[in-house]
Structures are given as C-alpha cells and as structure tokens.
C-alpha cells in the first residue's frame, strides 16, 4: 500500500471512529448530566431503562427519531431547516483537529490519534465555533416567533461578546507555547518542574487566570448555566429552539453537548497538558494510558460543567454583558499583557 | 559729541498724559484730570527750557536717533526713514512757543472748562495735540513731520467737534478735516517727489542734495513743483487762500482750543514748514513768489471780512487768517526769520486775544455777539487791561510786540516789492480798525447785554447766572497776565536784528544781512512812521464810528449796500465753493460713482454673479438629490471614466 492509500484509509477509519465515539459521548454526557444533577437534587435521575438508566440515551434517540416532525406555519423554511444542520455540523467539524493522544504505530506506519493536524488548528476551531453562532441566530430568526427571535438575538450578542474573551484567554497560552498547532501545544506541556508538578500551562505557564476566563467564556459560548439566557426556559420558553421538535430539536441538543465536549477537549489540551500523564506498564497499556488521561481530564471538566449547572442560578442579561465586558475582558487583557511581559523577560 | 538731550521726552510726556487721561480719566476727579494734564504739559515746557538752557553748548544742528522705522530696498535705491529728532534755532523757537503758550492755555482751560462735561476728554485731546505738535516741530525728516502734521489735524478735528452733539460743531470739525486733506494731498505728493528724486526725506540729506542743484530762476521745474505742492499743504494747514474757509468755522470749538490750535500753534505749522523748507524755496523763486502773493492777498482779503463780523471769535479768526497771510508774505519775500518772528509774537498776542475773548464770553454768560456787549471794562478790569495790551500789539503800536515783527515784515516787503508793502500797510490799517472796533464795542460804552441775556449758548456758561458780567477766576487770569507781559515785551528780542541774527544759521547769512543793509536808516524810519500812522488812523476811525457816533456804521452800511453785504457774507466764498466744488462733487459722486459705478457696475457684478451662480446651481443641484444610490451612480460612472482615461494615457 502506498503511503497515500494508507493515509486515506487511516483518515476514513479515524473519521468514522471519532464520529461514533463523539456521538456516543454526547448521548452519555446527557445521561451523565441527568444522573449527576439528579443525585445533587436528591433524585435518582434516569434509572428505569437499563441498569442505572444506561440505555436511556438510546430510548431518547429513538423517541426523537420517531416523533412527528412539526414545522410551524409562517416560518422561513429554508433557514428553519438549515439552522440545526449548521449548528450540528459546526459542532462536529471542530472535533477534527483535536488530538486524542500520541501517535500509534500500526505495521510500521505511524498514525497520529487525530483526524488532521493543522498549523492553525486552534484558529480553525475558533473559526468554526464562531460560525456556529449562525445556527442559533438563524434558528431564532427563521422561527418567526418572538421568543425565538429574542433567544437568537441574545445568543448572537452573547457569543460575539464572549468570543473575544475566549480568544484573548487563548492568546496567553499561545504566547507561552508559541504555536497554533494543538499537538505542539500539548507537547510543550510534557514533563515536570520542581520534581513532581506537571508542566501544564495552568501551572507552569501561570495561566490559571486565563483558565478562569476561558472557563467562563466557554460556559457562555456553549449557552450553559449560568449563562444559558438564549434558551432560558422560564423567560423565553426555550428560546431559539422553541419552535423545533423531533430530530431538528435533537440536532440542537447534540450540537450543544458536542460543543461542550469540544470545549472540554480544548481546555484539556491548552491548559491541562492534554494526554500527558504518568505512563507505565506493558506496551499496550502505554499506548492506552495517554488517551486515558486525556479522557479522564475531559471527564473532570464535564463534571465541573454539570456541577455548576446544579449549583448556580442564571444571570440576568445585563449582568451577563457587564460581567463579560467589564470584568472578564479587562482580566483577559491584563493576563495577556502580564504573560507577554513575563515571556519577554524569560527570553 | 554732545551728550543726549533726550529730546524724545518732550513729545512723549504729553502723549503719556493723553494716554492716562484718555484711558482712565473717566474715573478721575476733575482735579486729578487737570493735575495729570498740567503735569505733563508743564514737564514738556520744563524740558524745552532745559534744552534752551543747554542750547549754547550744543553742536548745531543737533540730531537724535530714536528708533528704526522704515527700511526698504537696498543698494543705491535704499529708502530709509527713522524716528529721529532735529534741533536747531528754528526748532527751539517753535519748541518754546508751543510748550510755553500751550502750557499757559492748559492752565487757562482748567478754569474755562471746569463746568463742562467731558472734562477728561478735553484734556486728553489737548495733551494729544501737544504730542503731535511737538512731533511736527522736532521731526528730523519730512515723514515724521507728516505724522505730526496729520496728528495735529486729528486733534484739531476732535477739539473743534468737542461738543459733538451740536450739529454745527460736528460739521465744522468735518469741514476742517476735509479741507486739510486737500492740503495734505499736496504735501504728500511733494513728499513723493522728494523720495523719487532725492531718495530720502531726511532734512539734512534733502537739503544737502537740494543745495547742490542750481536755482530754477525761470520756468516750472522740479523744485518749483515741490515748493508749490508744499505750499498747497501749508495753505491747507495755515488757512491761506483758497483753503482758509475752515478756520472761521473752527471757532465752534471751545475758546482755549481756538487760542491754542487755531491761533498760536497749529495754524502756524504751515509757516514753520515753509521756513523749514527754505532751501527748496530759495532755489525756486517762482514758488516763492506764489507764496508771497497768496500771503499778501490772504492778509488783505481776510482783514476786510473781519471788519463786518459781529461774533467776537469770528473777528479774531479772520484776524488770524490775515496775520498768517503776513507770515507767508514774509516767507514769500525770503524773510523767513521775520515770518518766524511774527509767528512768535502773534502766538503771544493772538493767544492772549482769544483767551481774553474767552474770558469776556465767560463773563457775559456765553454770549459771543459783540452787539450785546459793551461797557465791560468796569466789570472785568483785568481782562480789559490784558486785552488792551493785545489789541495794541496786534495793531502794531510801538513798543508792543506786534510793532516790531510787523514792521520787520513790511520793511522786507518794501524792499522786495513796494506793492506788497502797500497792501501790507493797508491791511495794517484795516487790522487796527477792526481790532479797535472790537475793543470799543466790547469794553466801552454801555452794557447792551441785559435786555437779551438768557440767549446763552446751550453749552456755554449758563451756570453763572444771568446777572452782571463778572471777572473770571484767577486760574484764567494768570495766563492772561503772563501773555500780556509777553505781548508787551516779546517784540524787544527783535530790536537791532537780534532775533534775525539768532536764526541766521538756519536761514543762511546772506539773505538777512544783505536785507538789513539794503534799506537806509531813513527809509526804515519812514516806513515805521507810515505803518504807525496807519495803525493810528485805524484807531481813530474805530473811535469815531463805534464810540463817538455809534449810529454812523449803520448808515455807512446802508450807503455801501451790496459791497457791505458781500463783506458781511464773507464775499460768499463758502457759497461759491459749495456751488463750484461741493455740489458738483456730491452730484457727480451720486450720479457717476454711486448710481453709475457702485450700483451699476460693482453691485450689478456681484448681483449678476450671484444670480448666475444660483441659476447654474439650480440646474446642478438635481445632481445632489440626497439619494445615496445616485451618488454611487455618479461615482461609478466617474470611476469608469478615470479608468478609461488612465488606460488611454497608457498607465498600466
């Protein structure tokens, strides 16, 4: 087999695998959230379908698929249909540059655990995330409903605002690691300092402020509590997806959770050292361990997501804007300036 | 090298006084205003005295440089005018006259103007006048002299129109200013000619250049033109035919102003200027002849008008014109020092006459008509005595000041041309007549003012009530007394040609010495006797007509008829001027300049341009539709044109 053929074959396998895993992960993140929040609220959560309710996502999926797909009158149909697709496509595409671990070697071919490695991988994710806004905004607009329109408006304003903080928080990391390539960023974080502390950006690069800003901005970007104003059930009756049902609604749902996972991956890669961690044991274990660490860190991140959801109330809209522009934005800039100065001093 | 005299202080001091009074006087009390004015005028006088005291130790002429003024051009065509001061004997005489008489009149004014509104304004103007007059006198070049020349005109205008709410005063001020402008025009052209031909206005340089030129014995050359143009200027300032008409009207100003400006100092500036430019006139005999003729005619002409005037100040005004004519006559026969001598004595006695007249007017509550006076000698004795001295002086009675100076002029005129002398003596007779007429009408006989008292000048001295005439306060009388003394003794400096000798370095030895020797002693004595006789005759005639037989003048007037009317109406000169010059000028301006040029051409051009612009804009504004897309359309089309043009021109 020529190397091109190997490349194409490996790519196809990787794409299929990643999509399968991602969709499953999305489904089980929903389950996890319901379960965890349930326990936090002294309930059981899903427990009827399968052991511990583990088959619940499957049941939900079937339900969405077979439900009647209602299209309300007076909607602008092309966009009404296109909007959830845009949302889910953008959510799924951004996973393509995420590396899940070191390269593995199969029959002498080194295959990186990543669909594609780009010089500007991080920028690609940012770009795709920002394009993802259209899904929400257009859904709100095309529904021809005032709740949806308000939700769409809120979503677009909020996401544009917080995108700036998100981007600025990442610039600090970029300065420390000096690359846009996610793999290189992770590799720059391997090793330890002072004997035991891992050289993660959050520790070694002193990017804990950036991490905090990133965390906040990520919550807002993914429309999660406490910043879930575009879909605030009590005010806007689910906001931009009020008029959606069945599989279209499911697409928004999937997009949201896929985005959560992407954001968690990104946080892990940029701040928490990616797949770096203690590697030991037999060769097979050594292959699996980095990916394990990676998944574990994502899991922790997702858990914090759910934990926050179970804990914090929702912001008011002007508070959201004030928090973003008057607190996070200056904080991110201060972090950027200090990081730049420190890096300049070190070199 | 003589140490600096700080001549610049002499004009600068009154200027400072004028500035203080002019800017802050409104808040000052009258005492403070008069204090400031008197201090600075007096200081100028003291400076002048100091200069006189140092005079014998100076290298003459003494010049003092103050500052650079104009520098233009370079090389041989450079023109330079500096602020500089020039001091010689002539300047010193003028300096003393101006500051001395000026200071006395300042003192007098404090009393005279005490009741008037605008007290500070008056003294500011007066000090300003002193500044300009002293600048004129001390100037080191013609341009600086011109500043003073224009400045005294300005001060004169301001002071004639001092009571500017009175219509006649305002128009008299304007008349003085406009008539003076005509003269100044001639003066300016003379200056331009000087610059053109001599490249300088500095006295020393100009006179040096001129003295190297040959005299223009005949014809009409450069120097003659300059001389005549200077004479035009002098005629304007010194009220000579044909530009004398402003001076009688200038009597609308307060009386001290008439005394200072329109008798003693400013009007003599023309004489001073001619005397100062004697180098030019010496080489232009034709111009000098014109000066002499104008002076002689003016002397006679104004004197005849003076006979019939009833306003006390008008009489003195025509007298002034007449006396100025004498001075020009003197200059015209190249007897400059005689002219200056008469200038000085005239300053004393004419200043005194005006001040005395002011005192009389003050006494009778603002009345100026002599027919309503009479018998005032027992009411105002001091004024009477001083006025008498002045009258004797101007009539030319020995040994008063006027005798010496007038005699000198007449002698020199006789020497030049007996016709001048004859007219001069006739004028002396008429002068004596109308002056004694004034004297008798005012001070002798019975007081005729009671029945009609109350017709006081609205700006006059109504505050004094309408009772009997009363003597003026001391502050007015002291200057009168001092001037009376000067009028009495002032002529003695001329005895034996001392004054002439003093001025000889300025006017050159030749003219004066030759002149004195030309006349035999006997002829001189005869001439003296004749002029004394003429003066006596004038006195007798006035005594006869106005004291002994007061009904006679009316009869004579009836007898003379038209001639008398002509004299009363000043030969209708004002009317003739109005018909000949003013009306054509006004009509011409109205028709040609206003309706024709201004409305027809300038306004029409402006209006048509505006109309045209509006029509074009009316058409073009449709482009400016306010529609964004239209603008973009024009832009796109224009862009296409530009691209096509660039490709056409081969820009790749």
């Amino acid at each position: 087999m020529s190397s091109l053929q190997v490349f194409i074959l490996a790519s196809v396998i990787k794409i299929v695998l990643v999509i399968l895993i991602l969709l499953t992960a999305v489904a089980y993140t929903v389950w996890l959230e319901r379960k965890v929040v349930g326990h936090m609220q002294n309930r059981w959560g899903p427990s009827r379908v399968g052991p511990f309710g583990l088959l619940q996502p499957l049941a939900d999926g079937i339900k969405f698929l077979v439900k009647e797909d209602l299209t309300p009158p007076h909607v602008y149909k092309p966009l009404f249909i296109a909007a959830p697709m845009i949302a889910v496509i953008c959510a799924l595409t951004s996973i393509s540059v995420i590396p899940f671990g070191t390269a593995i070697t199969v029959r002498g071919y080194s295959i990186p655990l990543q669909i594609t490695d780009l010089n500007v991988g991080l920028l690609l994710i940012l770009g795709i995330t920002s394009v993802g806004v259209y899904g929400v905004a257009l859904a709100g607009w095309s529904s021809n409903s005032k709740y949806s329109l308000l939700g769409g408006l809120r979503a677009s304003a909020q996401m544009v605002s917080y995108e700036i903080c998100l981007g600025l928080s990442l610039v600090g990391v970029l300065i420390v690691s000096g690359s846009f390539s996610l793999r290189e960023i992770v590799e720059s974080q391997s090793g330890h300092f002072w004997g035991f502390i891992p050289k993660w950006n959050i520790f070694y690069g002193c990017q804990f402020v950036a991490f905090f800003v990133y965390l906040m901005a990520a919550y807002a970007e993914t429309n999660r509590i406490p910043f879930d104003l575009p879909e605030a059930e009590t005010e806007l009756v689910a906001g931009y997806h009020t008029e959606y049902s069945a599989m279209k609604f499911a697409m928004f749902f999937m997009a949201e959770y896929a985005n959560m996972i992407t954001v968690a991956c990104l946080a892990t890669l940029l701040f928490l050292g990616g797949w770096s961690g203690p590697v030991f044991g037999p060769p097979l274990l050594q292959v699996i361990l980095p990916t394990f660490w990676f998944v574990a860190k994502i899991f922790v991140f997702l858990f914090i997501y759910i934990w926050v959801r179970g804990t914090l109330p929702r912001f008011r809209y002007d508070q959201l804007m004030a928090f973003g522009w008057k607190f996070l934005f200056p904080l991110a800039i201060a972090n950027l300036v200090i990081t730049a100065l420190v890096v300049a001093y070190r070199s | 090298m003589t140490p600096s005299l700080h001549l610049w202080l002499i004009p600068a001091l009154p200027l400072l006084g004028a500035a203080i009074n002019g800017f802050f006087g409104r808040r000052f009390s009258r005492q403070a205003v008069s204090g400031v004015a008197l201090t600075f005028a007096g200081a100028a006088f003291l400076m002048a005295l100091y200069v006189a005291a140092r005079f014998s130790s100076l290298e003459l002429p003494y010049t003092e440089f103050l500052a650079h003024w104009i520098r233009s051009g370079s090389g041989p065509h450079i023109f330079v005018a500096e602020f500089e001061f020039y001091l010689d004997q002539l300047t010193l005489v003028m300096l003393l006259v101006v500051t001395g008489v000026g200071f006395l009149i300042h003192i007098y004014s404090v009393g005279y103007m005490w009741e008037e509104g605008g007290f500070y304004r008056f003294f500011a103007y007066l000090n300003l006048f002193m500044f300009f007059m002293l600048t004129l006198v001390l100037a080191g070049n013609y341009l600086q002299m011109f500043i003073g020349w224009e400045g005294v005109g300005l001060a004169s205008y301001l002071l004639i129109g001092f009571w500017f709410t009175k219509d006649s005063a305002a128009s008299a001020g304007k008349k003085a200013f406009i008539v003076n402008r005509i003269g100044d025009f001639g003066f300016l052209i003379a200056l331009f000619l000087l610059i053109k031909h001599f490249g300088s206005l500095n006295f020393a340089q100009v006179f040096t250049s001129v003295s190297q030129l040959p005299g223009e014995m005949a014809g009409f050359g450069l120097l003659t033109s300059i001389g005549l143009l200077l004479m035009v200027g002098a005629a304007g300032k010194s009220a000579q035919i044909p530009l004398y008409v402003w001076l009688p009207d200038a009597m609308e100003g307060p009386t001290p102003v008439s005394a200072l400006i329109h008798a003693a100092t400013m009007v003599t500036a023309g004489v001073y200027m001619v005397a100062r430019s004697h180098v030019i006139f010496d080489r232009a005999p034709n111009a000098l002849t014109v000066v002499a003729i104008i002076g002689t005619l003016t002397a006679l002409f104004a004197a005849t008008i003076g006979i019939a005037q009833t306003d006390i100040k008008k009489v003195l005004a025509y007298s002034t014109v007449s006396q100025l004519g004498y001075m020009f006559m003197a200059c015209g026969v190249a007897a400059y020092s005689a002219g200056i001598f008469h200038l000085m004595t005239h300053a004393f006695f004419k200043g005194l006459l005006f001040l005395g007249a002011g005192s009389v007017i003050h006494a009778v509550g603002g009345e100026q008509d002599m027919r309503k006076m009479g018998g005032l000698k027992q009411y105002i004795p001091i004024t009477f005595i001083t006025m008498s001295v002045a009258t004797l002086a101007i009539a030319g009675i020995w040994p008063f000041a006027g005798f010496f100076s007038k005699d000198e002029i007449l002698a020199r005129a006789y020497e030049a041309n007996p016709a001048y002398w004859f007219i001069g003596v006739t004028t002396a007779f008429i002068t004596s007549f109308y002056m004694f007429r004034l004297w008798f009408m005012t001070f002798w006989g019975d007081y005729r003012g009671r029945d009609s008292a109350g017709h006081a000048d609205p700006h006059g001295h109504g505050g004094h009530g309408h009772g009997d005439p009363h003597e003026s306060p001391m502050v007015m009388l002291v200057p009168l007394m001092i001037l009376a003394v000067l009028s009495f003794v002032g002529g003695w400096v001329g005895i034996g040609g001392r004054f002439e000798h003093f001025l000889a370095p300025v006017f050159g030895e030749g003219a004066s010495t030759v002149a004195t020797e030309a006349l035999s002693h006997g002829t001189e004595l005869a001439l003296m006797a004749i002029s004394l006789g003429a003066a006596g005759l004038g006195w007798y005639l006035a005594y006869l007509l106005y004291l002994k037989r007061p009904e006679l003048p009316q009869k004579m007037a009836d007898m003379l008829g038209g001639l008398y009317q002509a004299v009363v109406n000043k030969y209708y000169i004002d009317e003739i001027y109005a018909t000949l010059f003013v009306k054509p000028l006004v009509d011409g301006s109205t028709r040609i300049l206003w309706h024709g040029v201004d409305q027809g051409v300038i306004d029409a051009a402006v209006n048509d341009a505006a109309d045209g612009a509006r029509h074009v804009s009316d058409a073009a504004r449709h482009m400016q539709s306010g529609n964004l897309r239209s603008y973009a359309g024009w832009l796109a089309a224009g862009g296409a044109v530009v691209i096509a043009y660039m490709i056409w021109m081969g820009v790749r």
Binding site: - | R621, Q624, S625, G626, N627, L628, R629, A632, G633, A636
Partner: protein
C-alpha cells in the same frame, strides 16, 4: 497551477458585484454588505499579488483592510441603528433629507 490573472478576475468580479449591489439594492444593510463584498474582492487581489511578487506585505495589508472593515462595520451598523430609530425605515431612497 493557477494563473494569477484568474484570481484577479475573480476579485474583479466580486468587486463589480459589490458596486452593482451598492447601486441596485435599496436596503441600507444590504448596501453595507455590498461594501464588504468590495473589500473582500480587494483582499483577494492583495493576497494574489502577494503570491505574485513573493512578498508577504500583501497579506499584511489584508489584515489592515480587515481591521478597517471591522471598525467600519461597528460604526456603520451603529449609524444604521441610529438612522432607523429616527427615520423608521431602512430604504435609502427614503433617507434622502441631505439635499437642497
């Protein structure tokens, strides 16, 4: 291998579309988008020229154009909002008070 002129022609087409959009569209927001389209056309030619001359300053220029475009968008849209508040229309044919 693609000739540079292809890129330039594409950029020209985009620019012309922008100009024509400016001319024929009535909605002020769409007109504004036409301007963005023109800017994008110009950007493409910048990048193409950068490739032709082998110098990156062409690409740098694109960044400046983008910055200016972003600033322009912010201000322009704010103006549009202000105009809409007072005139209650987005049709430029009805926003024509700026005339004699």
């Amino acid at each position: 291998m693609v000739p540079i002129s292809y890129y330039l022609i594409l950029s020209g087409i985009l620019f012309a579309c922008g100009v024509i959009g400016f001319l024929i569209k009535r909605n002020i927001i769409t007109i504004f988008m036409s301007i963005e389209l023109m800017l994008n056309g110009v950007n493409l030619s910048f990048v193409a020229f950068a490739a032709q001359w082998g110098h990156l300053s062409g690409q740098i220029f694109v960044f400046f154009v983008m910055v200016v475009a972003a600033a322009e968008t912010a201000v322009g849209l704010a103006i549009i909002i202000a105009v809409f508040r007072t005139r209650e229309t987005l049709n430029v044919d009805q926003v024509n008070l700026l005339k004699l």
